[in-house]
């Protein structure tokens, strides 16, 4: 650490600081606010700076920063909760798989935000990364350090839960046809 040179700092600035706008947006979205997002991003960059000697020049710095960001976010959440972060992914996702709810016709920003906030954290993170930020499944898998299949499975459940939450709180006539229940029955009949 003592021998950190000016050149090393320039390397870091060149490779890592250029991703601040994108990562700040993601951090703020994950945290639900700009202030918390800035704090998360600062901690992310300090962690990255401390371990920059482990970063291999020429590899994907953006993906490396995403990993650190998500790890830091997860660690902060665990700390805040003062208990291990436990979500029964299977149970939560099972509901979404059984009832493939159609997206309601009338969607409002408030309803979407409320439904999103009710998602378990792991699903929320993936929805932000893929459906909002546009990361590919492969990029999201690398950032979260999980297999691509896990990303697809969690996304499927997360999106399903989101639609389910929206359908539950939507006016009775606003759901598209056929209903999710109908589709579930159709799927069971097919299998």
């Amino acid at each position: 650490m003592f021998g950190i040179s000016h050149q090393r700092r320039e390397e870091f600035d060149r490779a890592a600081l250029v991703h601040i706008p994108e990562l700040l947006r993601v951090a703020s979205r994950l945290c639900g606010g700009a202030d918390a997002g800035e704090d998360l991003l600062q901690e992310t960059y300090l962690q990255a700076w401390r371990s920059f000697h482990r970063f291999e020049a020429g590899t994907n710095c953006r993906a490396w920063l995403y990993k650190i960001l998500l790890f830091t976010y997860s660690a902060q959440n665990r700390k805040r909760a003062r208990q291990p972060f436990l979500v029964d992914l299977d149970a939560a996702g099972e509901t979404a798989l059984l009832v493939d709810a159609p997206t309601p016709d009338t969607l409002t920003a408030e309803a979407v935000k409320a439904a999103f906030d009710r998602l378990p954290e792991n699903f929320r993170t993936l929805v932000v990364l893929v459906d909002v930020e546009g990361l590919t499944y492969r990029e999201a898998a690398a950032a979260l350090h999980v297999p691509v299949g896990t990303v697809m499975s969690r996304l499927n459940r997360g999106r399903g839960l989101l639609r389910l939450e929206l359908a539950r709180h939507a006016p009775a006539s606003s759901s598209g046809a056929p209903s999710g229940m109908d589709l579930s029955r159709q799927r069971r009949a097919r299998s």
Binding site: M1, F2, I4, R9, D13, L17, I20, P21, L24, R25, S28, R29, G33, A34, G37, E38, L41, Q42, Y45, L46, W49, R50, D100, P102, T103, P104, D105, L107, T108, A109, E110, V112, K113, F116, V127, V128, V130, D131, V132, G134, T136, Y137, M152, L155, N156, R159, L162, R163, L166, G176, A177, P178, L183, Q186, R187, R190
Partner: protein, 263 residues
């Protein structure tokens, strides 16, 4: 590929994320073109995504955050420099304390002289023809040195142990093994290290061992000394022991015995 509504709904989000294979993509588009319900659902999911982006959008000032992060990194770097400086100061202090301790440690300044004097006063007074008497040695040795002769060995080439006893001298209490042969008398002294470190001397290292042997000449006698954790050993001779390996053998076996006591 013909996809039904159920399958189309299942892959609809992957379509929006452009993650479908070319073949599934074609099948998806063919179905949606003919299915009013799925077209409507696709429109609603697009709208959902747009609303998600919109509702999760947070106004950010990237330039300000960049400056904030750069400042935090500079501050951290400065704190490391401070730690490094403090570390250097601390290391200097530790080194100074170590030097002071080394300089101020107790040294047994008379260690070599006393061993030479006791050799003269005791070992050289044994009459010619004295033979080792196991019973006498056992009576005159004290714990924990009772078995020092067994450990050292009665004979080493031309040299033979002729006696062993506790030998009080100037407040010391040597275990004294007297060895004779090749026209000279040797003394092997072992004592507890109660008077401090051995005085500095030119040091030689025994081959094949990790012993530091302090070699010096006092009162015309050659003295080889070894310091173990709690003891000091001295081998005193009138002239160099021939062959030199023999002196090493005697010292090494004595040191092994002493270390056995210490462990």
């Amino acid at each position: 590929m013909n996809l039904d509504c159920q399958h189309v709904r299942e892959v609809m989000d992957s379509y929006l994320s452009e993650e479908l294979s070319v073949e599934t993509n074609h099948g998806f588009l063919r179905h949606v073109a003919q299915c009013r319900d799925c077209t409507a659902e696709l429109r609603r999911r697009r709208r959902l995504r747009a609303l998600l982006s919109e509702t999760l959008d947070v106004a950010v000032d990237a330039d300000r955050v960049r400056a904030r992060i750069a400042h935090a990194m500079d501050r951290e770097l400065r704190s490391w420099v401070r730690v490094a400086r403090l570390g250097a100061v601390a290391a200097t202090l530790v080194a100074a304390v170590a030097v002071a301790y080394w300089a101020g440690r107790r040294v047994d300044a008379a260690a070599y002289d006393d061993s030479a004097e006791d050799h003269i006063a005791c070992a050289l007074t044994y009459p010619d023809g004295t033979a080792y008497d196991k019973v006498r040695a056992a009576q005159n040795l004290e714990s924990p040195f009772e078995h020092i002769v067994d450990a050292v060995g009665l004979s080493h080439g031309l040299y033979h142990v002729i006696d062993a006893h506790m030998c009080p001298y100037k407040g010391r209490n040597y275990a004294h093994v007297v060895i004779r042969g090749d026209g000279q008398t040797l003394s092997l002294f072992a004592e507890r290290a109660e008077r401090g470190a051995l005085p500095a001397t030119p040091t030689t290292v025994l081959a094949g061992d990790t012993l530091d042997v302090h070699a010096t000449t006092r009162l015309g006698y050659r003295i080889s000394a070894v310091a173990t954790r709690d003891h000091r050993l001295f081998l005193v001779s009138e002239r160099p022991i021939d062959p030199p390996d023999l002196a090493q053998d005697i010292l090494r076996s004595a040191v092994r015995f002493i270390r056995g006591l210490e462990n």
